[in-house]
Structure formats: C-alpha cells, structure tokens
C-alpha cells in the first residue's frame, strides 16, 4: 500500500515540493493580485463614513471628558490602559478645550468627506488618524465599535474607495480607468476579509473557554444584563431550549466563520447569520453602531460588479 502525501499530487503535475510551492504561490497571487471591482469598497466607504461621522458627533458631545486634560483619564495615566509610547494620539497635544474641539472637528469633517467621497484618499487617511487618536487617548471609553472602525478604515485607506459612488467620481469623471476593477481594490477587500476572519476566530475561540457557551445559556447572560439591555428579552426565561439553540448556533457560526465563509455554498448562510447576530446585538443590547459596523465589514464578502452598458443592451 502506498501512502499519498500532500506533496505527491499537484495540479501543476510536478509532483514535488517545488510543485507544491508553485501551487501555493499561484494561489497566493490569485488571491491577492487579481483585479476586483471597487464597488463593494465604495459601499463600505459610505457606510463606514456615516457611522464614523456619528461616532465623532458623540465624541464631541462630551469632548472635554473624553479628550481633555481633566477628563475621565488624565493624559499622564493613559499609559496605564494601553501600550505607550506606541499608541499615539493627536489629542495628547490638546491642553485646552478649544484645541480638543478643533481636533475633534477635524475628525468629524474628515468622516463626512469620506462618506461623500470628496478628496477621498486624504479623507480616509485623516479619518483613520482621527479614529486612532480618539481611541488611543480615551481607552476607558472604547469598545468593539472602535476596533471595527479601525479595521474598516485601514482597508479604505489601502483601496480606491472613492473611485465609485463618490463626489470625486462626479467631479473627476470616470476617465483613465478610474472606477475600473483593480488590484488595489482587491487587496483592500482581501485584507478586510482576512482580518474579519481573525476577529471571529478569536472571538469564537475565547468563548470556548466559557461554560455558559457550552451549556447554551450565554445568551441569557446577555439578555438579563440590565446595563446593556435595550430590548426586554427576559421572556426567554420560559424557553430554555430556545436560549440553548441560539447560543449554540452563535458559537458554531463564530468558530466556523473563518473556514465556512469562503465556500460559495455556505457563504450566504454565514452572511445571513452575521446580519442576524449583529442586528440582534444592536437592537437588544444597545450597540447598534457596533452591530452595523460589523455588518458593513461583512460586505467585503459580497459579490459585486459594476453594471456595464452591455448589461442594459
């Protein structure tokens, strides 16, 4: 009996380690360096910009408390909550209320421009710098929304997110291949896809430590927490099997996401689950912005193609 190893069969027919490596290089190049339609990135840009704009407005509602020298966290104590000096912030330079508001205002303007797609490359960079500055200055006030917005903005900086559905497109026109499929758009979308898989994998793996997830009762822990609650789900107390089913389905979905989001057969199911889970968290636990941001990130897995004239012929 002959044992077949992974090195024995290769689509290239070389049947060797070199052939195997060549297959991987081929797949790597196909995965990253294929041109993709920038339309999904443009949709992600609009949604991310809108959520970020709203987040900026809320930061500004209590800017002194979040970023001021006498706020929740004194500038000299930020190192206790994050990794200084690497976690820089432009708010470290703000030592009076006016400076805090000006810097917060720059964040907001950049986020609005990003949404509209005006001066998009610059708006994306300033939006990312603003988000990083806010999150690094106010670590006592951050949560998953900020992590997700950071992940989204990095892809928007990398890719040509303003080449479609933008004022830039209206003003500059669609000449010189602007808005066409590109490797840059593909790299940006792929980065977001892989990053999202990392997020779900570690979130799911972390839950595997928890007894309540194995027992199928974790959903109850979230539903009965009055500090989070915006929708009364305590009626679920009378339906323990429903709580079990939803908890276990959520756990399976999160743990398996990194593998089963890629095959076309399972992708629609996993995307539908993402919408259900994140909308559920948004509605029931009062974190709608976080839920929407995660749904937006999942858009990176949607197939999209800009219609051409022949489509309408």
């Amino acid at each position: 009996m002959t044992m077949i190893t992974p090195f024995d069969r290769s689509p290239t027919g070389q049947g060797s380690f070199r052939g195997w490596l060549a297959d991987w290089a081929e797949a790597w190049n196909g995965f990253w360096f294929t041109a993709a339609d920038p339309l999904p990135l443009a949709v992600i840009r609009i949604a991310t910009g809108a959520i970020l704009s709203w987040a900026c407005v809320v930061w500004l509602l209590d800017a002194d408390a979040f970023f001021g020298p006498r706020g929740w966290l004194a500038p000299g104590d930020v190192w206790r909550m994050n990794d200084q000096p690497w976690q820089w912030s432009w708010f470290f330079a703000a030592d009076d209320p006016t400076a805090v508001r000006v810097l917060g205002g720059i964040m907001l303007v950049a986020a609005v421009l990003l949404t509209l797609g005006l001066a998009t490359p610059l708006a994306a960079i300033v939006s990312l710098l603003g988000l990083v500055s806010a999150a690094n200055r106010a670590p006592l006030n951050t949560f998953g929304l900020d992590d997700t917005l950071g992940m989204l903005l990095i892809s928007l900086v990398v890719g040509p997110s303003g080449s479609r559905l933008s004022l830039d497109e209206k003003i500059l026109g669609a000449g010189q291949g602007r808005g066409a499929a590109s490797v840059r758009a593909n790299v940006a979308l792929r980065l977001l896809q892989v990053h999202l898989c990392v997020v779900y994998f570690f979130s799911g793996a972390g839950k595997l430590f928890g007894a309540s997830w194995w027992e199928g009762t974790a959903l109850w822990g979230a539903a009965a927490n009055l500090q989070y609650q915006t929708l009364d789900l305590t009626g679920l107390a009378r339906h323990p099997l429903v709580v079990n089913a939803i908890t276990l389905a959520t756990l399976f979905w999160e743990v398996a996401y990194a593998a089963l989001i890629w095959p076309r057969l399972t992708r629609p199911v996993f995307l539908a689950m993402a919408v259900a889970v994140h909308l559920g968290i948004g509605l029931a636990m009062g974190m709608m912005e976080f839920g929407l941001a995660m749904i937006v990130a999942n858009l990176a897995f949607l197939q999209a193609r800009t219609p051409t004239r022949t489509d309408f012929a």
Binding site: L140, D146, Q227, R238
Partner: protein, 217 residues
C-alpha cells in the same frame, strides 16, 4: 494539501503586477496580517510566553494603527454589568447623587455606552471587597490613579467639591429567578472619597470606606 480556493471567478481576470512589486506587497501583507493575528494571540490572558515574545517587534505597528485587540467579545462568559454610584458634595454643602452610566440622561445611546465602559473597565482592575487583603493592596496601585481621574471628571462636570465613589456589580439573575420575579443583591465595592485639591485642579483622595468595608451583597 492545497491552499484555500481564491474564488477568482468573482473578480476580473488577473492584472499583471510586476514580480518585484508583487514580492514587496506580499511581504507587507504578511507583516501586517502577522501583526493582526499576533495581537489576539498574545492577550488577554491566558497567553503563551512565545506569543508575548513575538508581539514585541509588532508593538509599534499595532499601537500606531490601533490594531492591538484581543477580540474576546462576550468571552469567556457574558458577565454581570457594572456602574459607578457617586455622591457629590456641592460648594454650598448640599449633596447630589447619581450613577454612571445613567440611561435616563446619557443620550444618545452611544454616549451611554462610552460612559458605561468606564465602570466596566475599572471592574477589571478593582478586586471585590471580599478578595484577600494582599491582592486588594497590590491592585490598588493600578486602579487608584484611574479612579482619581474619574472622580476629578465627575467633580468638574457637576461643579462639586467632594465625591464618594462606589463600584456596583449588578446581580445577574438566572432564568428561574426572573420567572419567579426574584433577584439578588448587587455587590458594592467602595472606591473612596476624593476632594478637589485647590485651584490647581488636582484631586486628593482618601479611602476610608475601601479600607474598612465589608461586602454588601
């Protein structure tokens, strides 16, 4: 073993990217994604010594791009919620009591959530009052400076002179208790009393309650 399918068919045909550019971009992508993976691998605990070691060269990248996250949402178990209960003595001697967050006044909801994160993050640092004294003493150096800042912000916001703070861990009732209309007592951890320290805007703190307190459940 073959790499996962690249699903090329969703995309336009491959564009020619010069080999040196491809190699350089591949290196950048690999470094970036390694950083993205190393961050949750190295924390929160439990984490291996190896991952901690591997994290070190990535700290500038992760810090600069705000990528150093653990992504353990509601893990390992969804826990109880926390809030800060405060009593402020105003300059005229009157007192004002409240809590952070406050669902009635902290609106919009995102503002509530940003304020809600303050007690949630402090709760990760403050041991419960029934913890061994040596653990409480060791932890105090971590949370006391943060609580002083929180006290200062609340005094500034409300214009008070003195504030007493308590961390409340809200009881998380089980399904049976909710079905029977029962609940349990919250756990209260005194954090101290803090006074405005003159015109400099600095705040002095003392911990009379924290030192002598017993758990109230």
């Amino acid at each position: 073993m073959r790499p996962p399918p690249a699903d090329h068919s969703e995309f336009s045909p491959r564009q020619p990217v010069p080999r040196p550019v491809r190699l350089l971009l591949s290196l950048v992508i690999l470094v970036y994604l390694t950083g993205v993976i190393i961050a949750p691998l190295s924390g929160p605990p439990p984490a291996s010594e190896l991952s901690q070691l591997m994290l070190q060269p990535f700290r500038p990248l992760l810090g600069a791009l705000y990528l150093g996250h653990g992504y353990r949402f509601f893990a390992p178990n969804p826990g109880p919620g926390h809030s800060l209960r405060w009593t402020i003595t105003m300059p005229d001697g009157s007192t004002k009591a409240g809590s952070t967050p406050d669902a009635k006044t902290d609106w919009p909801r995102l503002l509530y959530h940003r304020r809600f994160m303050v007690p949630e993050k402090l709760a990760a640092l403050v041991p419960p009052v029934d913890a061994p004294p040596e653990i409480r003493a060791r932890a105090r150096g971590d949370w006391l400076p943060l609580v002083k800042g929180v006290a200062g912000n609340l005094l500034r916001t409300h214009g008070g002179d003195r504030i007493t703070l308590e961390l409340i861990e809200h009881y998380l009732p089980g399904p049976d208790e909710v079905a029977e209309g029962r609940s349990g007592p919250d756990m209260i951890t005194p954090l101290g009393t803090f006074a405005r320290g003159g015109s400099s805007g600095r705040f002095g703190g003392s911990l009379p309650q924290a030192e002598g307190a017993t758990p109230r459940r």
